[in-house]
Structure formats: C-alpha cells, structure tokens
C-alpha cells in the first residue's frame, strides 16, 4: 500500500505527539533554567555555576583527559563501572541463595535475621572507611557497593519466597511434585519478580555508594574521584562533566533493569 510508512509515522506522532512535545519542553526548560541561573549567579557574584556551553567544552577536553587527572573520561567511567559491577555481582551471588534459604526455612530466618536487622540500617557509607581499611583501596569500594546492594536483594528475595501463594504449592503437591520440584518449579519462578525489584533498588543504592566511596580512594581513577579532585581544585566545569557522567550511567543502568524487569514480567505472564 502507498504511504504506509508515512501513515504509521503520522500515527505514532498522533498517539505519542503530546508526550514527545512535553518531553522536549521539559529538557529545553531544564537547560534554559540552568543557563539562566549560571548567568544570574555570576552577575550577582553569589557562587559559580558553569553554564552548559562551558561544561560541554570541558566535556570535549575530558574525552582525551582533563587537565587535572590527565585520565580520559572513559577510563574514569570504566574504573567506576568495574567496581560497581563486581560489588553488584558479588551481592547477587550471595544474597539470592541466602534470601531463598531465609525465606524457605524459619530456622535460617531465626539465625540470619537478628544479625541482618542490626547491619541493614547502617548506611554503607558509614562503613566505607572501615571497608577501605579492612579490604584495601582495591577491594574497599567493591565491598562498599556490595554492602549497599546486598540487603535490598536479600530482603526482596526472602519476601518473595514468603509471599508464594499456598494454593500454588497445594496444586503442585496434588499434581505429584516432590519438595525439590516444588522449590524449583513453583517457589523459584514465583520469586523472580521480587528479585528484580531488589535489583532495581540495589542499582540505585549502588550508584549512590560508588561515587562517595571513590572520594576515599580510587586508584586508577573513577567518576567519583574525578568529581572530588576537580571540586577541591575549583574546576567546577570539569566537576560537572563528572556529575553528568554519573547521571547518564545511572539512567542507563536503571533503564536496563527496567527493560529486564518488563521482559521478565512478560515472560512470567505477569503483565
């Protein structure tokens, strides 16, 4: 059919038009307010907020290495990402089986809960210094991220196991499932969406933690280290490059987890 493509584009625009326009307005006004504020603050000599164009210039320079750390921006990002991924992976690997165990057995819960109830409310950053001292500058930040991600995943998995609909277990039993099969074919799949929730929360906490942890020490660089060192040297334009890098990384990881969450929900027939 003639003009099918243009029709479907028009269709998309018709359906999504308002959303697109409003998104554009939101982004443009954000930039304008930023710009206006920086001009205003400078003219009043109140404080220094680098304007978007200045930050953009600093960004271009940072790509091949900012004048302070001489480390290309990508290296900083990779260094942070590296710590983040290790800490995150470690947390998942330990929290998932522990959560399943503590959700499934009340004895494991009696054993594990008191300790985790004491540890959980302590902000990871309060412990960061200790982790650096105990595990060194290489593993300290990884352990800090691990600590921040571990509890949301543990508690969500545990909650998931405890939320399993008893009818599903009854159904599985009457259909002839063994205990092991009930675990593998009912409890485990039931818990996956809860795990995904734990992961999204963990992602948020993880990013928050990694930036501040790198303020303590970050051999080989890191976005947090870039932010702190440029700040102490008054290089606010470069500091904002670091801030924006963190923002973008955060957006990317949360979109990734949201995408994964949706895919899982779809596959699990929960959407």
């Amino acid at each position: 059919m003639m003009g099918t493509t243009s029709w479907s584009w028009r269709e998309i625009l018709r359906r999504e038009g308002t959303k697109i326009v409003l998104t554009a307005i939101s982004l443009v006004s954000f930039l304008l307010i930023w710009w206006g504020l920086s001009i205003y603050l400078e003219s009043m000599k109140l404080s220094y907020l680098p304007a978007p164009d200045v930050v953009f210039e600093a960004f271009l320079v940072s790509l091949s290495g900012d004048p302070l750390t001489h480390n290309p921006l990508l290296n900083h990002i990779i260094a942070s990402l590296n710590r983040f991924v290790w800490g995150f992976a470690l947390a998942i690997v330990l929290a998932v089986p522990l959560g399943l165990l503590m959700g499934g057995s009340k004895y494991a819960r009696y054993l594990g809960m008191p300790a985790s109830e004491i540890l959980r409310p302590i902000p990871p950053l309060a412990l960061a210094g200790f982790f650096f001292a105990a595990f060194g500058v290489l593993y300290g930040p990884i352990v800090t991220v691990f600590y921040g991600v571990f509890f949301p995943v543990l508690y969500n998995v545990m909650f998931g196991v405890r939320s399993v609909d008893p009818i599903l277990l009854d159904a599985a039993r009457t259909l002839g499932a063994s205990r092991l099969q009930m675990f593998g074919k009912v409890i485990l799949p039931f818990t996956i969406p809860y795990l995904m929730t734990g992961i999204s929360i963990g992602l948020g906490v993880g990013w928050m933690v990694i930036v501040a942890a790198e303020w303590i020490a970050a051999p080989g660089g890191g976005v947090g280290a870039l932010i702190l060192s440029t700040y102490t040297n008054g290089m606010y334009d470069y500091m904002f490059v670091g801030i924006i890098a963190v923002a973008i990384l955060g957006i990317l990881t949360t979109s990734l987890s949201r995408l994964l969450e949706n895919k899982v929900a779809e596959r699990m027939g929960m959407k």
């Binding site: 009854d170 009457t174 259909l175 002839g176």
Partner: protein, 252 residues
C-alpha cells in the same frame, strides 16, 4: 464397586488448649464413575474433607481408602481443582496442563500429546500459548480441570470450583463439567454450598451437618440428565434439600 471409602473419618484441629472437632464419624462409600456432591453450611468441614482425600490435610481419626489403600500423602492418583484456580501464572495454558506430567518425568513428546488431548477436551484449542492472566475466569477453570485430568487420576476432587465465577459462566461450566465427566467417566467428589449446583450435577448429594461435620442425609438423584432447572421435579428437590439445610441453620 466402591473406589473411595471414608471409614469413620474424624478431623481435630488444635485450638488454644482445647481441641476443635471439625469432622466426626464420617463414613461414605463412593462408587466408581459416580458424581458425588458434598453439600453443607460453611464451616462444616467439607473442604477439609476434600483436602484430606487429596492428602493435603492429615486424617485425625479413621481412614480414607482409595482402591483399598489408605491415603497418607498427596499423589497423582487424585486430581484437585481449586476454587481460586491455583494456576501457575508464569506458565502458559499448555505448560500448566503439562505440570503433573512433567514432575512425573513423562518425556516431552508424550507430555505435549497428552496436554493437547486435554486442551481439546476442555475446549481451549487455540489458547495453548496464552497465559492465565489473559484468560477469563471460566477459561482459567477449564485449565484447572484439564491440568487435574492430565494425570489421569482415579478421582477428581473439586473444591467449589465455580465459586469464583459469575452466575452465567457458572451454569455454563456446570454443563461443560458434565460433558467432560461423561467423556472421561471419572469419579468426581465435588464440594459446594449451592443446593442448585448440587442438584444439577450430582448422582448423590451428601448433606452435612454444621460443626462438627458429619453426614446428615444422603440424597440419591434419579433425575435424568440434562436436568432442567425449571422442571417441577428439580424445583421440588431443590426446595426439600434447602429446607433441610435451613432447619440446620436455625439449630446451629
């Protein structure tokens, strides 16, 4: 011959320091291929009784025997259909029906073949790949019935299976159930608190007393099927049983 025997069955629940007697002296023989409805006021223990047959609930006194063998635990020789369906939301229709075959280690090709047979029996052809959340209540219970039947159980236990459905769907599902029952010749033990439903479905109705539950009366239904709800015999029978239940209510 009798396939399912309740021999002086009792159920006691611990309650605070005392014991709550839920079921007392329940004795009944169910014939092979028979459609038996357990009818009684809520709290009379009819669901507990069904769960005891399923092996989901322990038997405090007496024994329940299936083909002469005492029931001690759940098994695939008894299929159960639940009021709230109990379907696995992450499995599609076909894989829900296959569940029992899967856990019993039936090879995939045989599983698919059997599942397909029951998909068609319950009238869900074309919905094999749908997930439970995409189905209406009536269709969900069709899956529940197919899933229970796929194991080819000796008895089909149904716990108010149409209780969560609207009146129209409910009537339609009763028709469907009778058709399926006729085709499979299964022994059915069906729990309901609806006199109308029991009179429409059963060969025999077991009217239970309030707590502690025991048999108050047995009704043999000679009405030919399909039964006409508007016929005078149907209405008269319904009224008689209803009266029996009403009397009880004022006593309890």
């Amino acid at each position: 011959m009798s396939i399912l025997s309740f021999k002086n069955v009792g159920k006691v629940f611990p309650k605070d320091k005392e014991e709550l007697v839920a079921i007392q002296n329940f004795t009944l023989d169910v014939e092979e291929g028979e459609f038996v409805c357990l009818l009684g006021p809520s709290g009379c223990g009819k669901t507990t009784l069904l769960r005891m047959v399923a092996g989901l609930e322990s038997i405090s006194k007496g024994a329940i025997e299936l083909n002469g063998k005492g029931i001690t635990e759940p098994g695939s020789d008894r299929g159960m259909v639940f009021q709230d369906f109990g379907l696995f939301p992450w499995r599609n229709v076909k894989r829900n029906i296959e569940f029992g075959l899967e856990v019993r280690g039936i090879p995939p090709e045989k599983r698919a073949e059997t599942a397909q047979k029951y998909v068609e029996l319950v009238g869900l052809k074309g919905f094999e790949q749908s997930h439970p959340n995409e189905l209406s209540g009536g269709m969900k219970q069709r899956v529940g019935i197919a899933r229970a039947l796929a194991n080819d159980p000796a008895v089909l236990l149904m716990d108010e299976p149409f209780g969560a459905l609207d009146a129209q769907t409910r009537n339609q599902m009763q028709f469907e159930l009778l058709r399926i029952w006729k085709e499979t010749r299964k022994t059915v033990l069906f729990v309901t608190h609806s006199v109308d439903e029991a009179v429409f479905l059963a060969d025999r109705i077991v009217v239970m007393t309030g707590r502690p539950g025991s048999i108050k009366d047995l009704w043999e239904l000679e009405l030919p099927r399909p039964r006409n709800r508007a016929s005078s015999e149907f209405i008269a029978l319904r009224k008689d049983i209803l009266d029996e239940l009403e009397v009880q209510k004022t006593v309890v």
